[in-house]
Symmetry: C2
Subunit: 347 residues, 2 copies
Amino acid sequence: MRRVPAGRPTIKDIAHESGVSESAVSFALNGRPGVSEATRARVRRVADRLGWRPSAAARALSGEGPATVGLVLARPASTLGVESFFLQLVSGIQEVLSLRRFGLLFQVVEDLDAECDAYRRWWAEHRVDGVLVVDPRADDPRPPLLDELGLPAVVIGSLPPGDDGTGHPGIANLWADDAGAMAGIVDHLDALGHRRIAHVAGLPELAHTRRRIASLRAEAERRGIEAHSHTTDYSDTEGVRTTRRVLDSAAPPTAIVYDNDVLAVAGLGVAAERGIPVPVALSIVAWDDSVLCRSTHPALTALVRDTTAFGRRAAEELFALLDGGPARRVEDALPHLLERGSTASAP
Amino acid sequence: MRRVPAGRPTIKDIAHESGVSESAVSFALNGRPGVSEATRARVRRVADRLGWRPSAAARALSGEGPATVGLVLARPASTLGVESFFLQLVSGIQEVLSLRRFGLLFQVVEDLDAECDAYRRWWAEHRVDGVLVVDPRADDPRPPLLDELGLPAVVIGSLPPGDDGTGHPGIANLWADDAGAMAGIVDHLDALGHRRIAHVAGLPELAHTRRRIASLRAEAERRGIEAHSHTTDYSDTEGVRTTRRVLDSAAPPTAIVYDNDVLAVAGLGVAAERGIPVPVALSIVAWDDSVLCRSTHPALTALVRDTTAFGRRAAEELFALLDGGPARRVEDALPHLLERGSTASAP
DNA sequence: CGTGTGCGCTGAAGCGCTTGAGTGCGGAGC
DNA sequence: GCTCCGCACTCAAGCGCTTCAGCGCACACG
């Protein structure tokens, strides 16, 4: 019995072994016409036996593209690492990528400029076939950049109010209905009798922050509820500070909506520190569920969405784009509010 | 003025433009001898002007390696996404990788088998130069596999008790002194008068869990303190359940050490639910600091380490290995205990 | 003035794969 | 029996870069 050649086998080895040319092997293994079924089967068998895998580099060089998708997370180090959203998203993305043996090139950077640099570099170095863009924002420089580079991309998240995503024909968009979700929260709080609501929001430049703020204002106005939004940088420090300020105001809210789990937990901490009973004197809602929301006492009422599925859909959309499909604008399922122990009737 | 050629410029374009051969361009741009300084400068200028970047694929194909490092995170979906440790580690890793324009290929998988598959695939497809391995465990199949594949690797984290890391010559190790850190915690609690300590630990198969458990037992025995460890899967659910069980025992502990921030927050929630005042009646220590530990009320006393620096050192160690250095075994700085409001004298 | 030496550069091969242009051959069609 | 066609396959070029052998030239040396 012949030994498997040392090092990784190449199609040349397979060609040798099965007595056909390299091109025949290539045809056979890629399932394209030009070889008989008998030959195809034989070649496949030999390839399996030798444990052959296509060299990503060689494929990339000869036109196929590097079979890799890029993802950049632009977050200052201080806010890094606690949000549940992100790894779940990645997990979903990879479920889909792995079906086609695509890799995920991942980068964490400090700011938007660095993110754009990363895209440029990946493009210039032929490192990715396309990218997934998170945290869309107002006046976002990334869609025009990616359009210019001709790098297929899916923007994950709702676009800023007024932007319908048609400006950049090469860029697809998978959006969550932040406005609708906020309306649902206000609905719930309204039904509980809350008339003063505070909203501790995330970064003001993010599109979804703007959508939520706009939706809160509209909904509150419609119902004659008093509501104010306060943006933060998502850090616990600002979560604490903002919560304190809000509670110190002349007419403090009876309910606070937090834009993520970390902020909500920080807010709950402030309530505990002040001896304000939750939910009796104050209701708390967290946007995005996570382990955290379940761990606190009381557990937090949270807006639940299937982030893994969200990631899956984003990756599918990107594949559709890579396969030559149109850049669509797709809406994700509406998240739902899971009532736990942190919301109750207004005092 | 000549237009920049459409698409990405190649060294051929540069060669044309600057009137030398492609090989001269290659020499010039890679800083190797064989070209005059004048030519080198000229070529560099042209390359800059055209915005040239080496094609990762072409480089990879011609011997240089793909300039990419792999990292797999094997976690069941349920435990995913809340630990602060991970993204910080990645952030540190990338600070170092970016210095040499290396990319990070990242994968999240369900279990260890899938992780090994990922390594095999990356190796076969020439996708990575080396990998970083996290969560070392007892009877870990990964070092022998990577050794066999000849894939340079750095194992991040302490090896299991009894394993000195010399078994696999190609694999470096960056370890944190979990035993020493645990000793420091016991020290602190002992000084506060605690005589009954519980340890809500992580996954029993992980090496650092074993080190911590062994160290706790040794330290407690030495001081005549009663101490028990209880392993969990890191989930909040088990954190809650284990804390309840521990507090229900005949002689409940006066201090609990949690193996991560999520477990600790879950534990604090149980205390709140039962009306047990922290730290008056119960002290809580969290292993690994994070936003979470600062957000709760009271804030959690935590074992602080510089995870970003840890990541940086791991990446440096991998580069050293790729540069042909020996596979070393390096110890990271000892973490320190940051006292916050969750520890006090024993009741 | 011839030879040796090293510098600065060129030419060509090769990495593993894809792909379009052939090539040989058996069978259908007249 | 000849042409024509299409199938199954081979050949060779090319993707962008590295690298090694080699080559001409200026200069130093005897």
